[in-house]
Symmetry: C2
Subunit: 319 residues, 2 copies
């Protein structure tokens, strides 16, 4: 069998779980990930890339499982002292996590975000390539009943509290060089839309025209995993945002959102009743338990994705 490569689109925690499962099921170097950078912002003079870091920490095995962000065995001396000195504490930066942002700041002086991420990944021993969707700033803007908010202002400072009326992504953003290379890889066997928040994490990636049209043109099947289980998000405000945007909060609405892009969708057993309606959109369905707690859960969902991809491949090589 010739070399096959797999490309995942991911935001933070939900996407990172599936990416970890995929990495476990594939050979080294087979998997690449395009990471959302629409959440990136500058804080305390440091360039923060929350989704890139969650991916790197998860793949390095040092992610904090309790929070979904930051590293485990973290210490908080910096933050405590910053608070004593009257500094801002709404965005929590652990002592070890801080080194990541500081090193990124240093590298950014002479390197693109793609190169910087590669250097950090290597230092952390991460084999899977994590590719920023863009090397340029592309901040997602959240329009809410409390006004237009920068992403972290909405998501962290206000705890995703204000009702979302619209979400906009800057136009004319150039795709990251590594991301475009990955998308044009002729050995691409599947493009995987991880169960990160479709509006907050995946839409920013798809808002980049070059990425979107490469995916639409690709002969590789595009396989998604629904972020909803029984109408609820495992973590984060996906269902809340769908309600605020006037959508049904179920997996069918997720399928409708991705219709035209997806060839297949992995959904949870709790949502099996929506299978027929989803298939009517031209999307093949695979049902499994999609809740990812342990590594075996992550590899199970990854297996569902990979087997659906093989099934939908233009020239399936069975047996």
């Amino acid at each position: 069998m010739t070399h096959q490569s797999y490309l995942a689109l991911s935001g933070g925690v939900g996407g990172a779980k599936l990416v970890l499962g995929l990495e476990a099921q594939l050979r080294a170097g087979q998997l690449q990930v395009i990471a959302n950078t629409g959440d990136d912002f500058e804080h305390l003079g440091l360039p923060i890339s929350p989704d890139i870091d969650t991916l790197l920490y998860t793949l390095a095995g040092c992610a904090n499982p309790a929070t979904g962000w930051g590293v485990r065995d973290e210490t908080w001396s910096f933050m405590e002292r910053l608070s004593d000195l009257g500094g801002p504490t709404w965005f929590r930066l652990g002592d070890r996590d801080l080194a990541m942002h500081m090193r990124r700041r240093e590298l950014r002086g002479t390197h693109s975000l793609t190169e910087t991420t590669e250097i950090l990944a290597r230092a952390l021993g991460v084999a899977t390539q994590v590719l920023p969707m863009s090397d340029d700033p592309a901040p997602t803007v959240i329009h809410t009943t409390a006004g237009r908010l920068a992403f972290q202002d909405y998501f962290v400072r206000r705890q995703a509290e204000p009702a979302v009326t619209n979400i906009t992504y800057p136009p004319d953003v150039a795709a990251g060089l590594g991301a475009m290379d990955a998308l044009s890889d002729p050995s691409l066997a599947a493009i995987i839309i991880t169960p990160s928040n479709p509006w907050l994490s995946i839409a920013p990636i798809l808002s980049i025209q070059a990425i979107k049209s490469s995916i639409l043109k690709s002969t590789a099947p595009v396989i998604g995993v629904s972020p909803l289980i029984g109408g609820q998000a495992v973590k984060g405000p996906t269902a809340k945002i769908m309600r605020e945007l006037g959508l049904a909060q179920d997996t069918l609405a997720i399928a409708q959102h991705y219709a035209g892009l997806l060839d297949g969708l992995v959904i949870d057993a709790q949502d099996a009743a929506q299978t027929t309606a989803i298939k009517r959109l031209g999307i093949e369905v695979r049902v499994t338990n999609t809740l990812m707690r342990k590594l075996e859960d992550k590899t199970r969902v990854a297996d569902a994705v990979l087997s659906l991809a093989r099934e939908l491949a233009p020239q399936a090589t069975h047996g």
Copy 2:
């Protein structure tokens, strides 16, 4: 007795010890300190003011007594991680210390260094005013047999190893506003040259013309404390630099260096034999044990300074 104020010129650890002793012997608000900022530099994008911080930490009671810099009960998670990520580790930044530089960076966006230092001092509960010698950068340059070096490159990265051939201070530096206010205070009862390194820590302050001429014009007595005891520095490269500059390594050479500026000098009992030679320079001498380990040592040296200042005051009010 009318209000009397005291003004000390100080670098880091040696000066800070005397300042702590002076603070203990004076009433709240009586003492002000002009701090050397010739060592200041930017590192990892952060504005570092080593001498200001040593003064603030010492006066706040949180200085690290083992190192002479940084805070006690420090943690090192950031530095360890930065090292793992390939970042620079030659300048050690503890997790708690880091908050100070980060907060300074934030405040510097809208405040002068003098205002920033006042805000940090208040947050740390420091009553004594610590006044930067200048609000503008004024980097000391160390000329060595290994070439021209920035201060921290010489002092920390190279551990003061290269032989010093000359030390230069930038010309036309404006004095800090608080520093000039303190020098023109009509209630000034003494100007105290602390036993910080005369070339590395005190000379940068005196290189600012407005400060130097204010001191020379002041009617308040100028009292120094020799940084040498028996020809040796308590800490740091003072004696080494004196040798490299072709000077004798003794308290008389210190007195000669400060001749024309000092009215009085406190020297150690080990150097009592040099009393007559120092007096011949027109400098009154007070002999005591100048080694400052415990608080009682610091207050003893402070007492010697203050009593010599009273003795040399234009209208001494004895009894």
